[in-house]
Amino acid sequence: MSCDQCHEREAVIHLTQIVNEQVTTIHLCERCAAEKGVESPGGVAKTPLGTFLAAMGKGLPETTPAPRSPDACPRCGGTLQDFRETGRLGCSECWRTFEAPLRDLLRRLHGSTHHLGERYTETMADPGPEPARAAELRERLRLAVETENFELAAELRDQLKVVE
């Protein structure tokens, strides 16, 4: 199928629009799409950041810039989708963030959601030495950079300097 705009190159983007309850689909080649300001997910991969993210194994965001999903874990950035794909949770905070769906899953897996075994109290151990604090800051810094929250990143970097 050739491009509706230039009628020369192969159409790679198929844009469906609904205007005044009329559904129209236009087929565009990559260049014409770019001129019209339509970006393809494939186009993202061609940017250096796209390649970088792909290499990090984080997968490609559907659009750029990728706003962090509001339902992501505030600590590690993991989402329910990540969990579905890997079967693994990202951190202890994920257990709190996704408490409701996890409770359903636990009922199916274990027939219960209540721990009846030995109990552990936080007071049993120190909150952790300085390096742990540094690690947490580093993790938050990584997330801040990833989500392009540079103001927060700068603040975290300063805090990290103090700790280290």
Binding site: R75, C76, G78, T86, G87, R88, L89, G90, C91, S92, C94, W95, R96, L102, L105, L106, L109, H110, G111, S112, T113, H114, H115, L116, G117, E118, R119, Y120, T121, E122, M124, A125, D126, P127, G128, P129, P131, A132, R133, A135, E136, R138, E139, R142
Partner: protein, 360 residues
């Protein structure tokens, strides 16, 4: 090459056949999954964090009673053959040893081991506390692992949720984080074809089975690892009690199956176990799988008192030392060496000959 002799018992104390019911049960394993609350889980952490986790746990372990003298093996710095050796000794999981597709251990992957206790670090969870005992010894193995858990927990902040219990990277381990496994030999149930029914029954009561090497491994030599499937909603002792009761029942079924075989087909059984013995004693080439199956036959023969002069300990040793990495190291060759089956057969012949003498 790592020197396993540095370990007090070479890390194979579990196969000395000294434990309860060791004619049927090779070993009992307890594993407790724990994570540090101040670090994200393994799947999301960085190389630096894994080093921090390792340093923090090692520091606490050195000050503990139970791991003070622990040997330390950094899987990420070991050759593949050494990693395989530790895996074959049941000291590390396949995942920690990096024996999967890409053949590399992840950075920070470490084992601390002292006598029957150990900790795998940077496995699927930050810590996998483990205890390995000879024979059928669920309570004893748990008591020891529990003591180590308490010692480490006093100085490390574990991730714990008031409702869900100990938090783990995979929801199948949450709660107690406890997986108790009993490695049991069930040739009678396999020969009488009752095994499928028994395994289905176990699944219905919340238990599961795996092969000789745990998760994802196949059943070889009629060895089954029976373990609890659920980790949440029951206390540690309830989980152990339940598994213990079911294992005892399976042991009874196995004994009954053996009696049925001896009653209904004595000639066939006698021929089967002596044939296995004869092949082990005189064969000139043995694949690992064949050796395992023949050892199973001889073990049955010893168990029903048809074969004298062979100890369960010898059979256990053969089980471990005829595995590819162990044999390759003993023979000074590579594990994929083409003549390994010939070397295996010679090794087995020598061991049996020195045990029972030329008259056997």
């Amino acid at each position: 090459m790592i020197d396993l002799s540095l370990l007090t018992d070479g890390g194979v104390g579990w196969l000395d056949a000294s434990g309860p019911a060791s004619h049927l049960v090779l070993s009992t394993r307890i594993r407790l999954a724990r994570n540090l609350s101040n670090h994200v889980f393994q799947g999301r952490n960085s190389e630096t964090e894994r080093e921090e986790i390792l340093a923090a746990v090692e520091d606490v372990a050195r000050q503990s009673v139970l791991l003070r003298r622990a040997s330390k093996f950094r899987l990420d710095r070991l050759e593949r053959i050494d990693r395989q050796l530790l895996h074959e000794r049941h000291l590390v999981s396949k995942e920690l040893a990096g024996l999967d597709a890409d053949g590399r251990a992840r950075s920070g992957a470490t084992l601390l081991v002292q006598d029957r206790l150990g900790v795998m670090l940077n496995e699927e969870d930050h810590l996998r506390i483990q205890g390995l005992h000879s024979g059928f010894a669920l309570e004893a193995a748990y008591a020891e692992a529990d003591r180590l858990d308490a010692e480490l927990g006093q100085r490390l902040a574990f991730a714990f949720h008031p409702e869900f219990g100990y938090l783990t990277s995979c929801p199948t381990n949450v709660g107690t984080g406890l997986r108790a496994s009993v490695l049991i030999h069930l040739p009678g149930l396999v020969l009488t074809k009752e095994i499928t029914k028994v395994l289905q029954g176990l699944a219905q009561v919340g238990l599961t089975f795996r092969g000789l090497y745990g998760e994802g491994s196949e059943v070889v030599g009629n060895f089954f690892q029976l373990s609890n499937q659920t980790t949440l909603g029951s206390s540690e002792h309830e989980l152990l009690d339940h598994l213990g009761k079911m294992v005892r029942q399976v042991m009874d079924y196995e004994e009954q199956a053996r009696q049925v075989l001896l009653r209904d087909a004595p000639a066939i059984i006698e021929d089967k176990v002596w044939r296995a013995y004869g092949l082990l004693r005189y064969a000139r080439a043995l694949s690992f799988e064949e050796a395992m199956n023949l050892l199973s036959g001889v073990r049955l023969g010893v168990g029903v008192e048809l074969i004298p002069n062979v100890s369960i300990y010898t059979l256990n040793k053969l089980l471990v030392y005829t595995q590819p990495a162990h044999l390759a190291v003993a023979e000074g060759v590579e594990p994929d060496e083409a003549d390994l089956p010939i070397r295996r057969a010679r090794f087995v012949r020598n061991v049996l000959e020195s045990e029972v003498g030329r008259r056997g």
